[in-house]
């Protein structure tokens, strides 16, 4: 049976993508305005030959220097009596053409140099880029002047000069991109598919840098028009009688005080043109640039927004629980769709207890954990229901100031990748001291002493020396120890550990797990341990909550769940895990794929993949059923002991 569902329907999506890009651009009012003005100007310029305009080059000394709105000459005439409106439109045409061609030439040559330099690397890169550096070392106008001086004045030569001057800009931008892309795996894969270097460069790398080239072009074209105007103004570009905006400005300068309109009109045109292009260019950049697209334009706030519609009735915390999360619901609203990442999760962590949250990627385990201290990003995330009781205090109704205080003091986090969690520019000691001083009034030396003690506690050899080390000087295991030390800095009641050992080697993982296990017992710290690995769960967790599609589907003591899973999903998931020492086992794969959380089915989310599913499962939401003390399952047909063993 072949799988027939991808994440979305293909062709529709790419068209939709393009449409939404245009809509995004239109949403930006400045960019939309720029686009409208630019389109109008371009249309008029293109239509110049068919418009009822006077010949721009015919002189008429009788009617020289007529003011604007004169009869027959809407914008007046210049000192030779030529019609300014006609010259303006024809001149705009020339300026646009020169600016655009110069941009295209510069983009083509610059991108080519950048692509080759970035892809080839090594000596080729060094030689090409040093050449580019030399071009950049000259002030641009001087270089343009030198080029025009050699080639002689003229519009075409000015165009070449401007193109050459702008090549480094493209070359440097594109080279950086190409350098990164050329080291990516898909380039290796293309090489193994037998593609030649040229083909890889233009077939594989170029399509990926194309957006950057377009962005760079859209932001340079206005600048190019200005530069053309500058050269023409100096008399090095368009030669009389040909009109372009720069030369019109230059000619108007002579009569600037007596007849300012002759120079103001082309000046205004340059301003409007460049301004509209720049506004549009910025808009295009915002839409196409993946970094800006992924939400950097919408600034996330310091804490997840809380808009609770559903509240659990009973707010008295469980007797032994230090952290008691009830009916937590977190949603992400992206472009009209609501993703119910967490749909009613109950988690309870006791003092010194370790609760494992297990699930596949996309099951909502990390979002649940991040929501507790308000770390899920807003926008687009928001908490829409439930409570998180920390020692009886509702965290979702606490003030921002209070949450800021509790973060790192009562609840601390350990994340998956210690290299990205630690600041690369500060020593480990500085960062530990900062964590300590954020919550207590210790002097520097006291805090340093405490930092040393913390490193000793996480069993880092030679702690005093290691305080002076930068994160990159430590191994992965050591870095994760530092992160754990930081989490312990203020004797937190609860540590939320999000896949803390996934990025580590097995021998190091075993060390970190035993360390965490010992520390929680010594300090009576509760741990919320998020993982996808049942082996890790066995090593450290007392209890387990299995998550599927944003809900906890089964919870109970670790040994019980592993030996006797009650939910069909848990059982299937355990069957998938290869077990050391049982190489003959054929894995039971789960057919189908998890539901998308913006379109959850009615009833049990696992029903479409479940062999035991009946019509009843698909009707209404399934509630948690208590099986025994501390053991509950969200299933109306739980597996019997015999089935679970099979």
């Amino acid at each position: 049976m072949a799988e027939t569902t991808a994440l979305s329907s293909g062709s529709k999506r790419s068209v939709g993508n393009r449409q939404s890009n245009l809509r995004l651009l239109m949403n930006n009012r400045l960019a939309a305005g720029g686009l409208v003005i630019l389109v109008a100007v371009v249309l008029i310029a293109l239509a110049a030959p068919i418009l009822p305009l006077a010949d721009p080059d015919v002189t008429d000394p009788v009617n020289r220097l007529l003011p604007a709105f004169s009869e027959g000459h809407l914008l007046g005439t210049d000192e030779l009596g030529r019609d300014l409106l006609s010259r303006l439109i024809w001149g705009t045409r020339v300026s646009l053409a020169v600016g655009l061609s110069a941009t295209v030439i510069a983009a083509f040559l610059g991108s080519l140099i950048g692509l080759v330099a970035g892809y080839a690397g090594g000596r080729t890169d060094a030689i090409l880029m040093r050449g580019i550096d030399m071009v950049m070392a000259f002030p641009y106008i001087l270089l343009a002047l030198a080029i025009v001086a050699v080639l002689g004045p003229g519009l075409l030569n000015a165009l070449y000069a401007i193109a050459v001057v702008n090549i480094p800009f493209f070359a440097r931008n594109i080279r950086g991109m190409a350098l990164g892309l050329s080291r990516r795996e898909f380039v290796d894969a293309a090489r193994l598919s037998g593609m030649s270097h040229v083909r890889i460069l233009f077939g594989e790398v170029l399509p990926n840098v194309l957006p950057v080239i377009i962005i760079t072009m859209s932001t340079t074209i206005g600048w190019m028009i200005l530069e053309t105007a500058g050269l023409s103004f100096l008399g090095l570009g368009a030669q009389p009688p040909q009109a372009d905006l720069g030369s019109m400005l230059g000619q108007g300068r002579k009569v600037l005080f007596t007849n300012p309109h002759v120079s103001i009109i082309p000046g205004l045109m340059i301003f409007v043109l460049v301004m509209s292009i720049n506004l549009l260019g910025d808009g295009v950049r915002d839409v196409l640039d993946p970094r800006l697209k992924s939400g950097s334009l919408t600034r996330p706030v310091a804490r997840t927004a809380v808009e609770r519609a559903v509240m659990p009735g009973d707010l008295t915390p469980h007797r032994d629980a230090i952290l008691d999360v009830r009916d937590l619901r977190t949603e992400f609203r992206i472009g009209g769709e609501i993703y119910k990442a967490v749909g009613g999760v109950d988690l309870r962590v006791g003092k010194g207890e370790c609760l494992g949250v297990v699930g596949e990627s996309g099951s909502g385990k990390s979002v649940s954990a991040m929501s507790i201290m308000g770390l899920a990003p807003t926008p687009p995330g928001r908490i829409v229901g439930g409570v998180a009781l920390l020692d009886g205090e509702d965290l979702f109704s606490a003030s921002d100031e209070r949450i800021r205080m509790l973060r790192g003091l009562s609840v601390s986090h350990v994340f998956q990748d210690p290299l990205s969690t630690l600041h690369p520019l500060f020593t480990v000691g500085n960062q530990l001291v900062e964590a300590i001083q954020a919550h207590s009034r210790m002097t520097g030396s006291e805090a340093r002493k405490k930092a040393e003690a913390l490193l000793r506690m996480v069993r880092i050899p030679n702690p005093a020396e290691r305080l002076k080390a930068y994160p990159h000087e430590l191994s992965g295991g050591m870095r994760q120890r530092v992160c754990i030390a930081m989490a312990l800095a203020n004797d937190a009641d609860v540590i939320i550990a999000d896949e803390p050992t996934t990025a580590l080697d097995v021998t190091v993982q075993a060390q970190i797990l035993s360390l965490l296990d010992r520390l929680r017992k010594d300090n009576d710290t509760g741990i919320l341990f998020i993982t996808h690995d049942f082996g890790v769960v066995s090593a450290i967790c007392d209890r387990v909550a299995v998550m599927y599609a944003g809900k906890v589907v089964e919870t109970g003591a670790t040994e019980e769940i592993l030996s006797q899973p009650a939910h069909p999903y848990t059982a299937k998931l355990i069957q998938c895990v290869p077990v050391l020492g049982e190489p003959e086992r054929r894995f039971g794969a789960i057919s189908g794929r998890p539901p998308v959380v913006n379109r959850l089915p009615d009833g049990c989310a696992f029903a479409p993949r479940c062999q035991k599913a009946t019509d009843e499962c698909r009707k209404t939401e399934i509630a948690m059923t208590e099986l025994s003390d501390g053991r509950a399952v969200r299933c109306i047909h739980p597996l019997s002991a015999r089935e679970a063993a099979a």
């Binding site: 072949a2 027939t4 037998g194 399509p207 075993a510 090593a539 077990v579 894995f587």
Partner: protein, 327 residues
């Protein structure tokens, strides 16, 4: 069955090194420090080791993406390195590679059809109708619907993307596939699907696999023979069953004890001081001696050679004081 397909003889790879303009030596990392191993036709050789042990370097050398600094590699009687230098396509038709990160290995701006057709065009020179049927055949082989061909990589989940990666590797009809951590980026349920497909394909197309992973339980379940790499050298190699049930090298022991398994509490844990040796400055003698509970003075002085076990001449270990049968 026991025909040697690939023979690696004392392969070494040194990164960096050389001299500066003024003659002072540059630091060098010895990623592979003389690895010799043979791969039989039709078997799955598992390679395990922790990060930095040189397993990916070895894989890249085998497919011609890198060249060994010294040592010889023969593939089916031919010099592999010479082949890679002279005609990379010739080599790519015989040995293919499956990458660890399925999405990163697919060009985001190409349709699946374009990705799968690339090896057919450039390696096999197929014409259009032949490609059409071959591409559909490939999709069928990895259990994906042919409708997917016109889509882009970002529309697929990790497991689906990895199957496309496998289909691409199969496209050129290779004899040997190097699988570099093919399932470590995937969820367990998806991992199981991919492993089952790999097993199925191996039977159907008479493939030989070189399966690289850091996950011992995965390697155990797929491999006929296993090689354990430590710090750029083979620590132990032998039939999977005997390596896993009766490991001889203390490092293999440590790995097996550290691996978490459902329903098992981890046993003996190493001290925090134990670290990988500095690759810029490898220690004399056995590279594992600092972490080894069985070390003696001998281990500090001389590097142990890879020697067969007294009871099984296919099971080798590089240790002065190997574990016996029972320990």
């Amino acid at each position: 069955m026991s025909e040697t397909l690939l023979k690696i003889d004392a392969a070494e790879r040194i990164f960096g090194g050389g001299k500066t303009l003024f003659g002072s030596p540059l630091p060098a990392v010895h990623a592979l420090r003389g690895v010799s191993i043979e791969v039989q036709r039709g078997e799955t050789l598992g390679i395990v080791g922790e990060s930095g042990c040189g397993k990916s370097t070895l894989a890249r050398i085998l497919v011609g993406l890198d060249q060994p600094t010294c040592g010889a590699i023969t593939y089916d009687g031919e010099d592999l390195c010479a082949l890679a230098r002279a005609d990379g396509r010739q080599l790519a038709r015989k040995i293919q590679y499956v990458f660890q990160d399925p999405l990163a290995s697919l060009n985001p701006r190409k349709t699946i059809r374009a990705i799968l057709e690339a090896p057919l065009v450039h390696l096999l020179g197929m014409d259009k109708p032949a490609r059409q049927s071959r591409v559909e055949e490939l999709m069928q082989a990895v259990n994906l619907a042919p409708e997917f061909l016109e889509r882009y990589p970002h529309e697929f989940s990790g497991g689906q993307a990895q199957r496309i990666g496998i289909a691409r590797a199969l496209a050129a009809d290779p004899e040997l596939i190097v699988l570099d951590e093919p399932v470590s980026a995937l969820d367990v349920s998806v991992q199981a699907q991919v492993l089952n497909i790999l097993d199925d394909l191996k039977q159907r197309f008479n493939l030989t696999y070189l399966f690289i992973s850091h996950d011992l339980s995965v390697v155990e379940s797929v491999s006929d023979r296993v090689a354990v790499l430590y710090f750029g050298k083979l620590a132990e190699v032998g039939p999977a069953r005997s390596v896993f049930s009766a490991p001889r090298h203390p490092y293999t022991h440590l790995l097996l004890q550290s691996a978490p398994a459902p329903g098992r509490k981890p046993t003996a844990v190493e001290n925090a001081e134990t670290e990988l040796p500095d690759p810029y400055n490898p220690p004399p003698g056995c590279a594992f001696h600092a972490r080894c509970p069985r070390r003696s003075n001998l281990c500090l002085q001389s590097e142990p050679p890879l020697e067969p076990s007294p009871i099984d001449d296919r099971h080798f270990a590089a240790c002065h004081h190997p574990h016996g049968r029972t320990s």
